[in-house]
């Protein structure tokens, strides 16, 4: 799936200093409700899967059936947008390289996540390179949890991508221009991106990139329907 990687939203990282987020690091996608955080996260997931890496999708709201159906929908959109045929090999990659860990009815806690990840490696030999964490409430989550999650990323040698919900009416930012609700956590996140609807599409802006803030030229336009890179 070379075609896909060339239009993946993660292409924005080609403009970043190190090109990737990297194991042990946390990355976050900030956007207002309804802009398409989940879709964009799933594109990040496909990018990894089609590079034949393994991925764990951690869902804090939806059950695994819902998650699977999101992947199916986006997969089909992707095939359509790229004009490629459905292929047994792709589907097998999708099945074998993705695992969903769902935590419903407020069951999420760090100890459990760690135990679950350990079981995946020890019992199944499933070693992910990436965790996608969708639905974590940044406003309600203590700073310590993120510190711990950073340790988890180090321990399991994974990069972790989050989505964070921002609000139109809260304009608070950190000194370096990092928006609410990540403004007080920016030291913990290696990459911070913002998804913003604009006149000609949706813009993915790189706000923090490893050691650099407000990355020049670090903005990319995405197709508002498919979330694929336009330029």
């Amino acid at each position: 799936m070379k075609d896909f990687i060339s239009v993946s939203p993660l292409k924005v990282l080609e403009r970043s200093s190190e090109q990737i987020l990297g194991p042990g690091n946390l990355g976050v996608l900030v956007a207002r409700a309804g802009v398409g955080k989940t879709a964009c996260l799933i594109h990040i997931a496909f990018d990894k899967i089609f590079r034949k890496e393994k991925l764990v999708h951690v869902s804090l709201e939806e059950g695994p059936d819902k998650v699977a159906s999101y992947y199916r929908v986006i997969y089909h959109d992707l095939l359509k947008a790229l004009n490629v045929e459905d292929d047994h090999e792709y589907r097998e990659l999708l099945e074998r390289n993705r695992m969903t860990l769902a935590y419903i009815n407020q069951s999420f806690d760090l100890k459990r996540l760690q135990a679950n990840l350990r079981n995946l490696t020890e019992r199944l030999g499933f070693r992910p390179s990436t965790l996608i964490v969708d639905g974590l409430d940044f406003e309600e989550t203590e700073r310590e949890v993120f510190e711990e999650l950073k340790k988890v990323a180090g321990e399991f040698e994974v990069e972790i991508w989050f989505s964070a919900l921002s609000h139109r009416h809260i304009t608070e930012t950190s000194e370096m221009g990092i928006p609410y609700p990540v403004h007080k956590l920016d030291d913990l996140f290696t990459i911070i991106m913002q998804l913003q609807p604009g006149q000609t599409g949706i813009f993915l802006k790189l706000l923090k990139d490893h050691d650099g803030y407000s990355v020049p030229e670090g903005s990319m336009r995405l197709d508002p329907n498919t979330f694929l890179a336009l330029d």
Binding site: V67, E95, M99, T100, A102, Y103, N105, A115, E122, L124
Partner: protein, 695 residues
Amino acid sequence: MDEIRKLRNIGISAHIDSGKTTLTERILYFTKRIFAIHEVKGKDGVGATMDSMELEKERGITIASAATHCEWKGHRINIIDTPGHVDFTIEVERALRVMDGAVLILCSVGGVQSQSITVDRQMKRYEVPRIAFINKCDRAGADPYKVVDQLREKLGHNAVFMQIPIGLESELSGIVDLVSMKALYFEGPNGDEVRTGEIPPSMVDEAMLKREELLDAASMFSDDLMEAILEENPTPDLIHEAVRNGTVSRHLTPVFLGSAYKNIGVQAVLDGINRYLPSPPDVKNAALDIDRDEAEVPLETDPDKPVVALAFKLEVTPYGQLTYLRIYQGSIGKGDDITLTRTGRKIKVGRLVRMHAEQMEDLTSAKAGDIVALFGVDCYSGDTFTSGGLNYTMSSMFVPEPVISLSISPEDNKSQTNMSKALNRFVREDPTFRSYVDQESGETIISGMGELHLEVYVERMKREFSARVTTGMPQVAYREAITRRADFDYTHKKQTGGSGQFGRVTGFMEPSEESAYEFVNQIKGGVIPTEYIPAVDKGFQSCLNKGAALGFPVVGMKVTINDGKSHSVDSSELAFTQAAIGAFKQAYIKARPVILEPVMKVSVEGPSEFQGSIMGSINQRRGLITSSTEDGDFTTIDAEVPLAEMFGYATVLRSLTQGRAEFTMEFLKYSRVPRSLSEELKANLRGKSRGEKKS
């Protein structure tokens, strides 16, 4: 609408022997449906009402009902019989589907046993809100407190006492109601009179404590109650409303207790059913729209909309076939036309009845939400009826191919007859259950969707039909499929004295994802005369039953014929059928057939501490784990596992988890058997054909 709000469709479910029959009978007695209490299976030879076919046959008027109607304090209650066997079959599934709520009975001595776990999981899967009744508090060793702990720990319920017992074991004399803070005693010969009294002084402290717990739990589901508690004025109505919210949303399980046998606490359970279990409009139901690729459409408990009803149970009675219906939407009246979705046929509603314990009531009409029965309707159970041109079905019309089979043989002549009766009946009830006689061995083969599925029917054959049968080893239903295109050009020619046989077919076979078999005729200029084309098709089809690779049925093949030759004298249908058979054989191996095996969607649920061992056990079985879901203290692991690897898994799982995990499986798809295993399979089959037949 008010009327519908006062309707309850409930099930009563329990571990065997915890008192389901006794409680049901008491309920029917207190609601004045039966007029005497008999001891269950007692010495007067009279059994409890729901359970005893024998009694009913004798009296000749009543029928063992799948649903019984009764009334309690202005509410109408339909009690749906949950089949005694707890294994997951389509019959249980349908009963669970039509109930809106349930009473889970637990024995105060035995507590939460493995069967209660299974039953409870099923209810959870079908999103059935429950209240619990801890029965047999009069027995030695009764410990309702332990049972509530188990409800929390083993079943993950947010269980809360609505009552506490006054005395236990032989001292049990009544209950304290924690909402009204009164003691309730059940007096008169059969406990008919409920006397309210003050809480015994020695119990006041405990009652206060348990009430606090109840208020704490209930206030999570009502801001009004929360406020009232702060103002120190939580009224009974506010508490009832909060408990109801919690129960209907399946976040709270109110616990009742007593002794059905000693008539203690039964009326309070009835009150609980009215107060806390949902009415039909409180529950979401959906149908599938066949015209829109079975898209889900929500149904409304509205008597004025077009009819959507599900036939959930058939019963053969002396008066003819009785079909139990749950009406989800619309109204059905005597003389109305309704359409059977499966056949598209219109049916005139003749006799419409409601079943009471000891009689049948004729109705002129029935409305959305209700459960009624129809006489003389020819249908299967699971069928959907509609009106107003809706092409809806309550369950998917897609019937999967069976994945497992088993030979059965009757032990004696009587069993032979009974077995045939049973098989006829099961096939009507359950489209995934099949039965046929194997041409080669003469054995009767039953096939279905899993080991358990077949076991349940064998068990029912024994119990309900007194057919004693022995069974063979379960066999996985393998299939064969080709993987590439291969051409054929075959001439069948025979010259035996007079007129000969001649036919030639040319074309190719290729894999097809769409269908099991497809035949395409591209013959031009009549090189094979049109009248012989069906014979060619027939020839190919006759080869599909036994593939040439290992003798398994062939699926997913498209055959195209594009050329051929005939002879004006010697060609015949037979000759072309033979030619097609020859062509099939010629091309089949070239088309690289592989063996397919059924893969099941397996879901294992158990306490989270076992996640690792459960994952390991699935991994060992060539399983692919797709997700793991944490919910409270429980983990559910979803996986895809080849059926052949699942034999005996129940035992393995039980020992891995001390019996605290459960699994379900259903057919998912056919997948290619890995090469190494298909070699093994070949070797086994060769051994078998040399006479090492498994029995």
